[in-house]
Symmetry: C2
């Protein structure tokens, strides 16, 4: 019996947000060869999933933008580039690494045509009145001694590792390329976008200006998922899902959680900031805005999570469609 | 009388290859502010041209990739990234700068809808047996003293400025994303692509591998123009067009040149290597492969060149369609 292929229009749309461990695993130095090898783990799964879903991929950029910042500090001969430009550079770098690896995984699969793939540079509007700009709290880039930090032209914060530059992490308001991405997905393109949470811009009348900030990639992905009308939102990370008492002897990974419970636990700050916290928030936001399914799962288990056999499924009373 | 708008299908397709001076002018240090300001010169024209043409933009990346190379050399703490990754970074950087500036220019124009714009990361297949790999000749990045150069892990060459890294500049064989770009253009998207001549890759059975090389952006643009079926190919640069005896007291800019004459003069090496030479070669290649119009013009006169009132027009006996 020949399995009938789904046509593009019949396929649900899945957004997979790849965590930092898609590129660099714990304990690795993060050579380019390692990063390419690591990418095959999620992308071989994404290649197979693309038979049944229209796919949007998003990704983080923490270590990569950190390296660009460190390089800048090393090199007095050159003017420092604003953060928005560095984020754009990482969208090029990581987008190319993902796209070329995915190309190879799709070609290995054979059987049928490879979908059109594009990596779309993405910028994301933030609100200049976002409270994050008054109280920058996101440490980025290398750690410095107190003396070195005092000479930097940036605001710094003391962290466990040393003094680090701190920037605002405002909420994503809207994805500038949403029309384009929506159209591309309708047409069956596999789209890689919103790298590093997007290049942060503010809109002033008829122009955009980049700003020195970083946007959380899971929150940006949730915004994109909502604006494009994605069916399934998978947040792929380095743990099997959402845990209660994470890091304690009695930690328990959940197979499912209701939106109501997740909101309660978010309010009590039970999920770490800058880690599981924004992921849970992103999943909740997606469902509250009408999304159908949201799952947080390990990068090793994206396919299993899509099939409902792994990860933490978010349960909402309200479903779209 | 109301002017009737052309629909996408009726509009001819124009590829505009932006030279390095679109971003950094002679005598400038090349701050990001300067680069954004400079971009408005060609992009305000491109915005207006997009009413009558479907547009593909390509661009160089020489100074930008040079800065990334210099930064790498400064920073011993980090592993050096292969050149293909740096090219990808510049596609992100410059693509974002072009796209956001063009967005603003289109919004300023008002009157009608802004076309869909996407910046598409592009990689370009080169032949591993290309003779350029046996004899790398393209100097890139910063200049070093003889002693410093001897310690570099790269092949270097002595230039006027000092010792510089030298890499292969193989010919572009095919643009990997040609299907995608063709489809996007058919659909009326304004596409930014092939930045820096594209990310150079070789194909080995079912996978792609990046290689340490750079591809001439005008030759890559000609390849893309041919593969997409572009009607008009405009190479925008820092001089008014093709000159005879360039740099001598009797230099003469040509308003037109036949393909036959251009080929003759190329054979005699009358146009400088790495400068006007590959531009003329790109224009010739485009027309010989069936393109309709090729023009080399100043970045200040893209619109005038499109209208046939500036630049050097290449005249071919053979025309497509």
């Amino acid at each position: 019996m020949v399995e009938r292929r789904k046509t593009y229009k019949e396929k649900p749309v899945m957004l997979v947000a790849l965590g930092g461990n898609a590129l660099i695993r714990k304990g690795q130095k993060g050579s380019i060869e390692e990063q390419f090898r690591n990418l095959r783990v999620p992308l071989s799964q994404v290649a197979r999933l693309s038979r049944d879903y229209r796919i949007i991929l998003t990704h983080g950029n923490g270590p990569q933008v950190g390296n660009l910042l460190l390089q800048q500090e090393c090199c007095d001969a050159l003017p420092r580039l604003p953060l928005e430009i560095l984020v754009a550079q990482t969208q090029g770098q990581i987008g190319y690494m993902i796209e070329s690896t995915l190309d190879s995984e799709l070609m290995k699969l054979g059987n049928g045509t490879v979908p059109y793939i594009v990596t779309v540079l993405t910028y994301v509007v933030v609100d200049e009145n976002d409270p994050a700009f008054r109280n920058p709290s996101k440490p980025i880039g290398p750690a410095f001694s107190e003396e070195a930090a005092a000479r930097l032209p940036y605001r710094t914060v003391r962290t466990e590792k040393g003094y680090r530059r701190v920037v605002a992490s405002p909420r994503p308001v809207t994805i500038v390329e949403k029309r384009e991405i929506r159209r591309l997905v309708e047409l069956g393109f596999l789209v890689i976008s919103c790298g590093g949470g997007g290049i942060p811009v503010i809109r002033e009348s008829r122009t955009f200006h980049g700003v020195d900030a970083v946007i959380d990639k899971d929150l940006a992905s949730a915004r994109l998922a909502g604006e494009v009308g994605v069916d399934v939102f998978v947040i792929a990370t380095d743990v099997p899902g959402v845990a209660l008492n994470y890091g304690y002897p009695d930690q328990t990974f959940l197979r499912s959680i209701t939106v109501e419970e997740a909101v309660e636990r978010l309010k009590k700050h039970e999920f770490p900031d800058g880690s599981m916290g924004p992921k849970v928030e992103a999943a909740v936001q997606f469902l509250e805005e009408g999304g159908r399914r949201a799952v947080i799962a390990s990068i090793e288990e994206v396919e299993e999570a899509a099939a409902g056999r792994a990860g933490t499924e978010f349960i909402s009373g309200r479903v779209r469609g």
